[in-house]
Amino acid sequence: MADLIQPPSEPFAAYVPSEQEPWDVRRIGHLMRRAGFGLTDDWLDSFQPAGPEEAVAVLTEYDPQDDPLNDLIEQLEGYLVFAEPKSVQGWWVWRMLNTTRPLQEKIALFWHDHFATSQGKVNNVKFMHNQIELFRRTGLGSYRSLANAVTQDPAMLIWLDGNTNHKGAPNENYAREIMELFLLGIGNYSESDVKQLARCFTGWQIQGEKGVLNPGLFDEGEKTVFGQKGQFDSAIGIDILLEQPMASRYLASCLLKEFVHPNPLSEHVEHLARRIVEEKWEIKPVLQEILKSRLFFSEWAYRSKIKGPIELCVGSVAALGGKVNTGFVRDSAAKMGQELLFPPNVKGWDGQETWINANTVLLRFNYGLSIGTQRNDEFARPSDIAKWIKRHDIKTAEDVVDQYIRLFLDGVMPAGFRDKMIVYMKYDGKEEVRQFAITPGTINSKVRGLIHLTMSTPEYQLA
């Protein structure tokens, strides 16, 4: 067995580039996979001279109200319609592919998984779209506000039956899941807390596209939640949940699992939980600390996660460019187990190892073949590949291989991989090794084949 890699000392001190730990494609690639959907040549060119501090600032400091793509989407008349989920799924894939703020989409995807709500039951595309917009708009804001907004969110009111939770006729669904899956984690509450908290959440109704409190349906009586007695409403109910020591630990653990490592150490969780309370549940400063940390850029975190289907499908297409068929990206990710707007259940996608089985491994490899060799205008257009070859001044088989390993795999592959790929580039079905030259023929076969092969490695499945 390989030596187990240990987390670094002073895990939450800021990472400072050094000779041993340089600010290079490996660390920029890591940052872009975790805080976005992967590396592109443009991000690499922009972040390499910027350094980690500025790179994290670029990714996190944006004004969600002022969105450069908004006008463009409005111009794409008819692109976004609310008659069917496919349109909103495609709209979101398009944003992920074209955004200049990958973290805005990534954090929205994180909350979509955390507060997992499915169109399968909500059956209202507009409400689903509004919920995703809520996550895009406030994803780096106050967690307390977000929890309150989600509690009143029409899609959530349908999904977990909040809209049928009335005085005298409680429905426990939302109360149970907000504790088990959203704010506290399983085992940190009693069955009585479920019943009492359900009463705090009574009375929320959908009016138009908003959740509003109907005082006639609200149970104003005294409740006992976590030993506290009072005529609590939903906001106080959420305050009481966030007062529980488990709440900040639970959020800390979820953030660390998403951005750093699938199995965070308890001291990491404790530190971050403390910081969450100090920052009054504001997500942005906490996430900035994570993304700048020695822990984040450590060997321990590197390639410790398995890419989700959306990360894989969006990331590879973004790296290659092309006119892009968002429907194909969306459907491919769905087949691999991640259909946007349709998380499998209220727990969201289990992620990590559960992404991978025989079926999904084959789909991932075959996806690499599709986007590499689909030979029409959608992915990796001849013009895109030609531009890429020119940009990197590619002349030899070695050049092609090195550039693809760099773009797709941070240049980090085991010994032997590069040589194998170079042999592949030069092989023409006969015994002797041929001289490789960039021609329309080799671009169409070998350069495209290399995309398929680099995406068919275990390393490429890692985030």
Binding site: T164, E172, A358, F365, L453
Partner: protein, 409 residues
């Protein structure tokens, strides 16, 4: 009923949690764990088990209705079922949607097991599902009960298709310490596709993909990924031998599509011993009556079509179907004409060799545990029966405990 993939994904439990430990545990550990487990039986070693998981917590009281009990109707004034029930005996009737199950029951091919559950029931979908998948209510386990069966009984087999899960994910129940069980979503996608542009490139690409995924002792994540990929490629080689298949029954959409694929794979004669399928949507917290009936209708019709298809192919006697859900629901309806999470619920077992009938006592509607039914049959008794009497395994080894068998087979 019209059922789509959406409904499966809706509230359905997907796969279960962390499987890394199990999937990367060295093979010798499993050999040690199950070494010399004595198995001696006259059973043929080609019986097949098909598991159907109802995800979301099926409302057992509206599936097998305790007829003639006023308390049932008092607890469920809006959702208690009275009309068009399918009578099983003086005390039990099936949901109106389950006509096809009534026929199976009358044929003596359907066992209905009342009140299945386990001590100290957990009302979380996810924890309770894990308990059913691992057959261990006490603590979390990285491998499933079918995984244990594979490690124990099929440990010598290098058949890449000894068990198959249908769907996009692999359920915890099927996680073994040995070679990973393949999941198959569609036959069209279950292959390594290659560039049609040139033959020699395609050939070399195939060779390279195998080499790039060769199992190494790199990090646990790399080991896990390369093992999955290597086994997937072995499974596709087997699967490519699949002959044409003609269905001899009309399957409904939804669960029916999965069971038809299973029938096709059984016809392929790969020696697969266990198949897994799932249908979601059972988390019926509001206005449940119509939707719930539709789901049960789909389940009953799909399973019935499956048996008809297999009967026409003269292999129905080799196949058993087991239906379960992670929990039942509260006795009393909630304020939304639905039901919240509860405890014990019924299981179904069907097949050519199954001894039909109603098994186990229906849980009392008066002696409740915090508003929930108390279980009368530990679900592990059904597992034990299937392992001992159908799969020719030693249930005491697989389940790490001895459970009393039942007469269902």
């Amino acid at each position: 009923m019209k059922s789509s993939r959406r409904e499966f994904l809706q509230v359905g439990m997907g796969s279960a949690a962390a499987i890394s430990l199990c999937a990367t545990m060295p093979a010798f550990v499993s050999r040690l764990a199950f070494a010399e487990a004595g198995v001696s039986s006259q059973l043929a070693d080609d019986n097949i088990l098909v598991i159907v998981q109802l995800s979301g917590g099926n409302d057992g009281l509206n599936t097998v209705i305790p007829t003639g009990q006023d308390l049932y109707y008092q607890s469920r004034p809006n959702i208690g079922l009275k009309d068009n029930l399918h009578k099983l005996d003086d005390k039990h009737a099936l949901n109106p949607g389950m006509t096809a199950f009534k026929e199976l029951f009358d044929d003596g091919k359907l066992a209905v097991v009342n009140g299945c559950g386990y001590p100290q029931p957990n009302r979380s979908h996810f924890r309770s599902m894990e308990i059913w998948h691992t057959a261990n209510p006490q603590q979390y386990e990285p491998c499933g009960w079918i995984g244990h069966y594979i490690d124990h009984k099929l440990r010598g087999s290098d058949n890449a298709l000894k068990a198959i899960s249908i769907g996009a994910e692999l359920p915890l129940a099927m996680v073994a310490t040995g070679a990973p069980v393949p999941s198959v979503q569609s036959l069209e996608d279950f292959k390594v596709k290659l560039d049609p542009n040139s033959n020699f490139d395609a050939k070399m690409e195939q060779q390279l993909i195998s080499e790039l995924n060769a199992v190494t002792d790199a990090t646990p994540a790399m080991q896990f990924l390369s093992r999955q990929a290597t086994n997937a490629m072995l499974a596709t080689q087997e699967m490519s031998k699949l002959q044409s298949y003609k269905q001899d029954a009309e399957y409904p959409q939804g669960l029916g599509d999965q069971l038809r694929l299973i029938a096709q794979l059984i016809s392929g004669n790969f020696g697969t011993r266990v198949f897994y399928s799932q249908i979601g949507g059972f988390d019926t917290h509001s206005n449940q009556v119509g939707g719930h009936q539709g789901l049960l209708n789909n389940v009953a019709q799909s399973i019935s079509a499956f048996h008809k298809d297999l009967t026409a192919k003269k292999i129905n006697d080799k196949v058993m179907v087991m239906v379960f859900s992670e929990f039942g629901r509260r006795v009393a309806q909630n304020g939304s004409s639905g039901t919240d999470h509860g405890a014990a619920g019924p299981m179904f077992v069907s097949g050519g060799k199954v001894k039909g009938g109603v098994y186990g006592a229906h849980p009392s509607l008066t002696d409740l545990d915090d508003g929930d039914l108390k279980y009368t049959t530990d679900f592990r008794r059904i597992y034990a029966t299937i392992l001992d009497k159908w799969l020719n395994a030693d249930s005491a080894v697989v389940l790490k405990n001895k459970f009393e068998g039942m007469g269902i087979v």
